[in-house]
């Protein structure tokens, strides 16, 4: 009887997993993956890329698509620039972050703002391959032939208020992030897909200056 119950639970769990991430199966050796992810991500010194962001308000059947460029330079320089249909730039450089929109500039010292500090840490952890060791999330890892899929569930109350899960798709060929999907508690989703990625192309420090 007990083994039958276990069989059914395993069966339902397997079905749920398959239904959730079609074409992916759980990674067999998580420890090996973690090690490999961190080792390979260290080789990424810079990323330049374009991105497409799709925010879907599920209950309202509304999607807004925006486009822009993304730049990363080791160790902690990140620039996200939306160019259409609105202009908005976010730059993280060391322990400072600047946001520019429509002529307004706002610089935040990350040391004095816990939430921004956390956001900065998560972004850098995702790119540097250390997100699986992060205390901000508990993670499950799946894979298909070309990609790894990291399902990250927030552990802190603050992050749980914003996200139910964050899904990171990482390319097997260079361990770079292909897309980020944020599932909100309301059922709304945001998917950021990176395109025309250039890994380790020269990136000037000047673009992160403010």
């Amino acid at each position: 009887m007990r083994s039958l119950l276990i069989f059914f639970i395993s069966f339902i769990w397997a079905q749920t997993t398959i239904a959730q991430y079609a074409g992916y199966k759980p990674v067999a050796d998580l420890t090996a993956f973690k090690k490999q992810f961190a080792t390979e991500a260290v080789k990424i010194n810079s990323i330049t890329s374009n991105f497409k962001q799709e925010k879907t308000l599920t209950a309202l059947t509304e999607t807004i698509t925006s486009h822009g460029s993304f730049n990363f330079k080791r160790a902690n320089k990140v620039k996200l620039e939306y160019t259409r249909p609105f202009a908005y730039t976010m730059v993280m450089n060391g322990d400072k972050m600047q946001v520019k929109d429509d002529g307004h500039e706002n610089t935040v010292n990350l040391k004095s703002n816990k939430l921004f500090q956390q956001i900065n840490r998560i972004v850098v952890d995702c790119i540097q391959g250390t997100i699986l060791d992060s205390k901000d999330f508990s993670s499950k890892v799946f894979e298909n032939q070309k990609e790894f899929l990291l399902e990250m569930t927030p552990t802190s109350k603050t992050l749980k208020g914003f996200f139910q899960t964050v899904i990171l798709v990482v390319e097997k060929k260079d361990y770079s992030v292909d897309s980020i999907k944020m599932n909100e508690p309301s059922g709304d989703t945001t998917i950021i897909t990176f395109t025309e990625k250039k890994i380790n192309a020269p990136v000037s420090d000047a673009i992160f200056a403010f």
């Binding site: 962001q53 925010k55 308000l57 209950a59 309202l60 509304e62 807004i64 698509t65 925006s66 996200l80 939306y82 249909p85 609105f86 908005y88 976010m90 946001v99 929109d101 429509d102 307004h104 706002n106 208020g161 914003f162 944020m182 909100e184 309301s186 709304d188 945001t190 950021i192």
Partner: protein
Amino acid sequence: MRPSPMRFLLSSILFVLAGCASDYKGLKVVTVDQECLSRIKPVALNTAWYDAGIDVVGKHISGLLLIKEMPDKSKRLVFTSEAGVTLFDFGFDATGDFKVYYIIKQLDKKAVVRLLRDDFALLLGIPFESPVWKSWEMGNERYFGVSEKNENHYFITDKDCGSLQRLESASKRTKKLTISMTGNDASKPDSITLQHHTFAMKINLKKLDR
């Protein structure tokens, strides 16, 4: 030369009296022009996304605002950050009743919600559903007004009733909020400004071309 104490006292009294003068003192009651009323009365806004900037007591907040007309004639207003996180989701049903569908903890303050509710109600023309209208003239403008509890809501046209100039909400004597719009399509304005007069707050909305 220093002003004498008496002169100082007199100017202070004049200043205080000027401060107490009603913003609507010059209004002269006129017969309601039903043709002008039905032609210029603010129309319901159609579905559109706006680039939003909120300046409130020295702070600047930016994001995207969706105004959506639902099939059942109810309205939804969803404010998200540029990166996609939903910050609030408000609704007015077909009878004008207000509902908070979602709001992040950091914004969930009674005074904030009430303020935004009143601002958006005027923007959507909800007080203008009233059947009881009054009309006035002042300078080169015509005022059409409705009363609700201790507040008056106006829409203002030029003297010839050629076009809508702006919307206003006021207490008996003091102007509290002005809403101005630009663009050729009144149901989808190119830009909208909500300017508060009793404290430092301004909301700027620019329609996004999707």
